[in-house]
């Protein structure tokens, strides 16, 4: 374990100015149906009843809830926040007019307008070509595009609620198989109260014909968002999935505790990308940002299966997130490409776990942390090579970049090797944007802000090239926006 703390010279940078650029900070005025605040067994039962769930689901929730009561919130992350009052949260909030999923015409126009404003047009005429979108508003999926077209290929893409109605046996088979409710505090909480999310099933020998995407939007103040995503890729199949998220500006912090489970069977590949832009809170006081406690894990169950996580984390007041891979199949491959940017008072403790079980399994970790303002950015990673993992290999690269002299970067790379044939490589660096680099760009006529963007972009290049299509540009723009005024 190593801890790196460094700072940058004052001349290069000024203290970060306020970040008034969060353009997704609006709320939609829409009538919602909310549960009373607080969490008891009755809350759990009520959610399940409301959604007319099959019996196994209620059992799962209750078991999770009872287990959660016995657990304690983790204290090991390098994060500081006031205690969360779990009784002061609304665990279910949904737009009152429940859209019929058969036709988008019946979706509340206010909702369609909201998503359009966010750059996610859902209507037949305008929707993004080549990308199917599941739009989740507060806790509920409001629309899924291209559902029928996908079904022609045997691909199931729908909300979790629908999946429980239409494909209960598939959900029952895989739910909790990668992230059991006993896994951690937030996973248990999610298992008890999750209200919706996306479900994806790719049958054997199928390459999903388009990108799948879920767009999460928190709207109601004081409501927690607990969604669950389950993606199953059968033998010889492929899917690329992208998740995006925003939330309005609130004065109170919102809790977001999601669970994502991926299962890749023999020779299957899942590419999961995230561009996270939750509201980060007031730049000066930190008030109102999202607390993002997310459990993401994929199981490379079959031989030669592959799971690739790519994440660009720019928002949230607090990020606690370790997208991980269980490399069970022989010759399976796990990848983690991450850019985590923190500014102002943001805190991130993020990284990955690669658990090698299969022979000749291989993992790659590329983590780029960028800290500005007074933020704290920690990489935490575990590479575990179990006894059975003959010939396993890992490559880890952890780079940190510091902007300003009040931020910090930490790296905690844990390694646990039980098979002597394992080959591990680790590289780490901490850099800052040097005065000479900025001057060089300036001397070519490039303004300081653009120069910082350019340098950061170069720094993140290895990760951005993993993002699907136009999202690399989106990510570049987002980082630029987030760093505006950070460098003097």
């Amino acid at each position: 374990m190593s801890e790196i703390k460094e700072s940058i010279s004052k001349e290069t940078v000024e203290t970060a100015k306020s970040l008034e650029t969060y353009k997704y900070g609006f709320t939609t005025d829409i009538e919602s149906e909310k549960a009373e605040k607080g969490l008891t067994e009755d809350t759990v039962r009520a959610i399940s009843k409301k959604k007319q769930e099959p019996a196994f689901m209620l059992e799962f929730r209750l078991a999770a809830f009872r287990h959660w009561l016995t657990m304690e919130e983790p204290e090991w992350p390098h994060l500081e926040y006031p205690p969360i009052d779990y009784q002061d949260i609304t665990y279910y909030s949904a737009p009152k007019v429940q859209p019929k999923k058969e036709s988008l015409d019946e979706v509340d126009p206010e909702l369609l307008a909201t998503f359009e404003k966010l750059g996610i047009p859902l209507s037949e005429q305008k929707r993004l070509s080549g990308v199917a979108v599941d739009a989740v508003f507060d806790s509920v999926s409001v629309a899924t595009t291209f559902k029928k077209d996908l079904l022609k290929h045997g691909v199931i893409f729908c909300s979790f609620t629908e999946a429980l109605q239409d494909y209960p046996e598939l959900v029952e088979k895989y739910l909790g198989s990668v992230v059991p409710y006993t896994d951690n505090y937030f996973a248990a909480l999610n298992a008890a109260v999750f209200s919706d999310g996306s479900f994806v099933y790719i049958p054997k020998d199928t390459t999903c014909p388009m990108e799948l995407s879920t767009y999460f939007r928190i709207n109601t103040e004081g409501s927690g968002q607990f969604e669950r995503t389950l993606i199953v890729c059968e033998d010889n199949s492929y899917v690329s999935y992208l998740e995006g998220c925003t939330a309005p500006k609130f004065d109170t912090n919102q809790l977001h505790a999601a669970v994502v489970e991926l299962v890749a069977n023999e020779n299957a590949e899942i590419k999961y990308s995230t561009v996270q832009n939750w509201f980060a809170g007031d730049p000066k006081t930190g008030k109102g940002g999202i607390y993002n406690f997310v459990t993401k894990r994929g199981k490379c169950a079959g031989k030669k299966s592959k799971i690739s996580w790519t994440q660009v984390e720019t928002g949230s007041a607090i990020t606690w997130k370790y997208p991980s891979c269980i490399l069970q199949g022989d010759e399976s491959v796990g990848e983690f490409y991450s850019v985590a940017l923190t500014n102002n008072l943001q805190q991130a403790d993020t990284g990955t776990k690669m658990i090698h079980l299969g022979k000749n399994s291989k993992s790659t970790i590329v983590s780029k942390g960028i800290s500005a303002g007074k933020s704290v950015n920690s990489y935490r990673g575990l590479v575990s090579i179990k006894k059975s993992a003959e010939g396993a290999r890992n490559y880890t690269q952890c780079d940190s970049m510091l902007i300003g002299d009040q931020c910090s970067a930490n790296t905690y790379p844990y390694v646990d090797v039980s098979n002597p044939t394992a080959q591990l490589e680790h590289e780490a660096s901490t850099s800052k944007i040097s005065e000479d680099q900025l001057f060089y760009c300036n001397q070519r006529g490039i303004g300081t802000e653009e120069a910082v963007g350019l340098i950061i972009n170069g720094f993140c290049g290895d990760v951005f090239k993993e993002l699907p299509g136009e999202f690399a540009e989106e990510a570049t723009r987002l980082l630029g926006l987030k760093l505006e005024n950070s460098v003097g």
């Binding site: 001349e11 680099q437 760009c441 001397q443 070519r444 006529g445 720094f459």
Partner: protein
């Protein structure tokens, strides 16, 4: 075009430039020579506005206006280009992306439309020919893993793309083999016109065989201690600097062609 008046500058309270005077007009080529550590690079950086140096006295005028209140990028946009003695690496950023951003900054400054990737790629290929640079360098990260000579050539490529009014070449010849020196010099000469000016900082007469200066200045101890014509460079080549350093009478006498 460029008027340097009694310029004094320091870094970390150590005085480095002690009253430099220099006049450079459009169409002229000036050479600045002088011993190591005499302040040649500092002079070029102060003109370009490097934040590490504090100007403690004097002024620098470009086209009649003081540069002192302009940021480095504004000076660049005004038409000042510095080919660095030690070009900086920008990891992960391709030469093409870097230069397009620079080019478009200039376009915007001049009220011209920005240029897209394809159109710029054509411009860049054309310009690369001027310094006989292999196209493969265009997509490599800026100066990353470039040899010393390649970096210098890359600087002149940038100059070719940005077409500055005033180019200051800081020891661009160091690290170049004789063939590369000819190519780079030919490139600079191609870019020269009656409307722009070049200041070359060099230790070697051999560069001046290719880029022929109208004026030669000797900078020592942060001052121009002697100015002359092309023949001064030959004299320096022969005699070194010692004879000048002892010659107190020459101190402060230097100002360039008027």
């Amino acid at each position: 075009m460029l008027t340097i008046q009694d310029l004094q500058a320091s870094v970390n309270d150590t005085s480095i430039l002690n009253g430099v005077n220099l006049q450079v007009n459009a169409g002229e080529v000036h050479a600045i020579m002088g011993p190591n550590g005499s302040g040649k690079s500092t002079l070029s950086k102060v003109v370009a506005g490097h934040p590490a140096f504090e100007v403690t006295g004097g002024d620098v005028l470009f086209e009649g206006k003081s540069l002192m209140d302009l940021d480095p990028n504004e000076r660049a946009l005004a038409g000042i280009f510095l080919a660095f003695q030690y070009p900086v690496e920008v990891p992960g950023v391709s030469n093409a992306d870097f230069l397009r951003l620079a080019y478009n900054s200039k376009q915007v400054h001049n009220g011209q439309p920005e240029i897209d990737e394809d159109a710029f790629s054509d411009i860049l290929k054309e310009k690369a020919k001027i310094v006989e640079m292999d196209e493969s360098f265009i997509n490599r990260a800026v100066n990353e893993g470039f040899s010393g000579g390649e970096k210098k050539r890359n600087e002149i490529l940038q100059m070719a793309v940005l077409e500055p009014k005033l180019a200051i070449l800081d020891e661009t010849d160091s690290g170049l083999d004789i063939d590369a020196l000819k190519i780079v010099s030919a490139g600079v000469n191609k870019l020269k016109s009656k409307d722009n000016a070049v200041v070359v900082i060099t230790h070697y007469q051999r560069l001046l065989d290719y880029i022929k200066p109208d004026f030669v200045h000797v900078l020592a101890g942060g001052k121009i201690i002697k100015s002359g014509g092309r023949e001064l460079a030959l004299e320096l080549e022969e005699k070194g600097y010692d004879w000048l350093l002892g010659d107190k009478a020459a101190v402060g006498a230097g100002s360039g062609g008027q």
